[in-house]
Point group: C2
Chain length 349, copies 2
């Protein structure tokens, strides 16, 4: 991937790749030379029964999941589990608009759905590692969408599921947020239908996109309490520049759009005629649904409504004033709650 | 105002105007031929003690305040009170970027602050009507900002104050929202530094602006409960088109920017060295602080924190799932709560 310096082993590695060849998507289009980038931690047991799959969120890569959620003494402990963190298609490390050959890249990149990711991930797990059952699938935000899709689509492969700060079907309000993020990008005068030639050409759109995350990602109470001070920032603007702009400005706009559309259209019930209860009723995994208490777009109420439709499930609200951005792990109390919930889930039969 | 068909007597009247001449703003700039547009209801008593001032919100005019809040049997009853609804400067009816002579209009329109509005409104009340004390000042959103400014700046003129869904000092998070709204407009390729020549040239920016209101104006729970059905809409998109786009697309972008900057910089404490407690401590009005329970940017917590600094005050949370947009009055239960609270406030000595 020499054509976009951000999506590099230097910044996000070490990661490995698995080639799936030409990959047929659910909508009938083909993803040429599909490749999944993934990072592994720990060792697969001889019985192949200690595998945990960790999925990635919008704009995130395996690196942030490693940094925030994996470690000795944590729930996701590499000394106990074989942990595979898989980058979602389009996130910049796995096959994405900037790293496929012309004319298939840029805005010609196909519309990928969450099911496409899960089907590709299943091939990685079975073909590469011989894993046919996962001790746990977990991920936050769009990672929760993949977690739900796994548990619904392949119920016999998922022993436990922990969707964090995300839903199985994107709500109407959440769709409006995803659309606003995409509109911020495509409204850039430099957008050129997705054929922008440089990163700088998209500066305005990426700036607006980052600022929408500052607005909707964090809860108003975080700003009222000035919790950004705890991260070493000196003012709100310093925080927004130093966390949001710093995180989002280097990203590829077409990559964000692939993920944004995927997020917007996520719906585990699509194969079941839109019957969400029927879809979620298929889940055999012991499931811990973990919304963030102050989330502005994957709200506790919306997550709880789905949890009630999952047979063997419980709701575990993660208390933090950080809102959705809390999934990044800046609040240690949040991480302690995640670890406690995941440890209890992993300890259960 | 022949140059912008939206801001007309036909759509927003009947309203009257009061000329203030060249009006010196707090920042030292001059607003040429400043004029306030206002609507009156009821009759001023001989003792001039039954006057109620109603202020307007971002993008709103006196018409929506009349339609939603004033009527026989309501708290704001023209048979009992002399009600003056005053359009804020820049809202399109009062002096605004589109209706001042060149070269003072468009993006050259000065930066108006909430105190400028209140000082101008005071001149209208005293010079035109001989009113030196108001039975009540009330308004929602930016109207609450004006209400607070009135009660702090002229404490002896305000017997009662009812700021609805707004704060005395704009919070950091709320500033981010105002900035996003403004960025949506100024990012339009047709913006041309504010010298767009037609309404159509600003379509994309006005569209994004409207969609941000769909996202942040209404609470996620409104969408989950599909309360838009109660307004006669058939789908979320139908609702967003029919309420948000319909409301915002006809507006003048420069007008919205004047109001957006004013909103962003609202702070009753500025003359008091930023000491909010000192500023709010000046209030002599019996005050009922009325946040909307599900407001996403003028949150209950932020409103309650200010209420605790107002000497003779109480908090009255208005319960509705509509979020901030609830101030438009589509929820009858919301309006009933407003009327009950205002009636109690008006009945108190």
């Amino acid at each position: 991937m020499p054509d976009h310096p951000y999506y590099s082993q230097a910044l996000h590695g070490p990661f490995e790749t698995y080639a799936l060849g030409n990959f047929l998507l659910e909508d009938g289009s083909t993803l040429r030379d599909c490749m999944l980038a993934y990072a592994i931690f720990g060792e697969l047991s001889a019985a192949r029964d200690n595998a945990i799959l960790v999925t990635t969120w919008f704009s995130g890569t395996s690196k942030i999941m490693e940094q925030a959620y994996i470690g000795a003494g944590r729930a996701l402990d590499p000394s106990k589990y074989f942990i595979i963190v898989v980058n979602q298609i389009g996130n910049g490390l796995s096959t994405s608009p900037h790293n496929v050959p012309a004319p298939f890249g840029g805005p010609n990149f196909p519309h990928v759905g969450v099911p496409d990711d899960v089907i590709a991930q299943r091939r990685l797990l079975t073909e590469r590692f011989g894993i046919d059952r996962l001790a746990l699938v977990t991920g936050a935000s769009m990672g929760a969408q993949q977690t739900y899709e796994w548990a619904v689509r392949f119920p016999d492969m998922v022993a436990r599921a922990a969707p964090i700060a995300g839903t199985a079907r994107t709500t109407a309000h959440c769709k409006l947020f995803a659309q606003a993020l995409m509109d911020a990008l495509t409204s850039d005068p430099g957008w050129a239908g997705g054929w922008y030639e440089t990163q700088a050409a998209m500066r305005q759109g990426l700036h607006m996109h980052a600022r929408l995350w500052a607005l909707m990602g964090a809860n108003p109470s975080m700003y009222s309490q000035e919790l950004w001070r705890g991260l070493g920032f000196s003012s709100v603007e310093d925080f927004v520049l130093g966390l949001l702009d710093a995180s989002f400005l280097p990203l590829d706009a077409n990559s964000l759009l692939v993920q944004g559309r995927k997020w917007q259209h996520a719906d585990v019930a699509r194969p079941y005629g839109g019957d969400l209860a029927a879809a979620l009723g298929r889940i055999k995994a012991r499931t811990c649904v973990m919304p963030v208490s102050t989330d502005m777009f994957f709200t506790v109420a919306d997550c709880a409504a789905e949890q009630r439709l999952v047979p063997t499930s419980q709701l575990c609200v993660l208390e933090t004033a950080w809102g959705h951005l809390g999934v990044m792990g800046m609040d240690r109390a949040y991480l302690a709650q995640v670890d406690a919930a995941l440890m209890a889930l992993l300890a259960a039969d």
